[in-house]
Subunit: 190 residues, 2 copies
């Protein structure tokens, strides 16, 4: 643990537009440090065992108790593929092999970019990690559609369903507003 | 400008692993705020006018004087497509229409994700913005290959060349280490 109480100065942040910038930033008026805030990247996967899809029931808020895909924030110095493998490991103790890019979504209202992959389970053993109450492999018709955690989980499942037989396809991007409703009671229209 | 000198406390950051986290973070010991640091997203485009490609000669460091594609950091509350359009506008006064996703790269050593699009120029007028010394539209054989700013610019140009005749293709990802050398003297092998 490195205590920073001996920093050369106490920061004094104000919100202003730095020289040669177009937007307001948080700037330390004592040293000029600009605390840029940018969107964060979430990485995750549709993890397949045959036609079954790995899902995790969330043990944490938001949406505790609802089902999601293994996914989470990309960390510093990771590739998107490394991050997706780590999240599958952390949330479902799942060892996976990344197959290809499935989707890229922009959740602009929460400043989040999501990069989703199609992947394969390379060891049949899965079990809940600390952030999951339960993990399970579902056939399409058995997915708990009314208990999905987030809209983009539905988008990703639909994108997988549209492309599962294809080797070459363009990644899915945000569906047109209103095209896929949420929450839902059964499988989304494709 | 909002002065923050009247914040309820002066932050006192230490680096430690928060409860229920796996990595060290910078945590304020006075209020518990965790200053998560995550990779940043760069968005940009291959902007086409017919078969010509829009490039910008950098007016700023790093790599001042070298040629790049219109691209830059995604801002809060932007979609990747909005960010790519804004960067084309800022760097080359270019109005563009996004066509499709061309590439997704992970520059893990600098904690950067790049999302590149294929796009079309929808107004023939282009001119340098404040961060560009010069902008130009190049046929493939006229690209100043020995004066390219960054390796991922070469990767993106090569990805475009491989896919320019295609409507449906998988996005390019990082080329295998060493497959595309940098700097180069002429067009990259595809």
């Amino acid at each position: 643990m490195s205590d920073t109480s001996d920093y050369p100065h106490t920061p004094k942040f104000t919100n202003r537009r730095p020289d040669e910038d177009l937007l307001e930033r948080s700037v330390c008026e004592r040293c000029g440090f600009v605390d840029y805030q940018n969107p964060k990247v979430v990485v995750g996967s549709i993890v397949l065992q045959g036609s079954k899809i790995l899902m995790c029931r969330r043990a944490i808020d938001p949406r505790k108790g609802y089902w999601t895909l293994p996914a989470g924030y990309l960390e510093l110095y990771e590739t998107t593929e490394e991050g997706a493998r780590r999240e599958a490991q952390e949330e479902a103790n799942a060892k996976i092999e990344i197959d290809r890019v499935l989707a890229i979504y922009s959740l602009a209202h929460i400043s989040q970019i999501q990069v989703l992959f199609r992947a394969r389970l390379i060891d049949p053993k899965v079990e809940p990690g600390p952030e999951s109450e339960e993990v399970a492999l579902f056939e399409w018709d058995d997915i708990p559609w009314s208990e999905i955690a987030f809209p983009s989980v539905v988008w990703t499942l639909a994108a997988h369903r549209r492309t599962e037989a294809l080797d070459v396809f363009a990644p899915a991007t945000n569906p047109p507003e209103g095209e896929i409703s949420f929450p839902i009671d059964g499988p989304p229209g494709l």
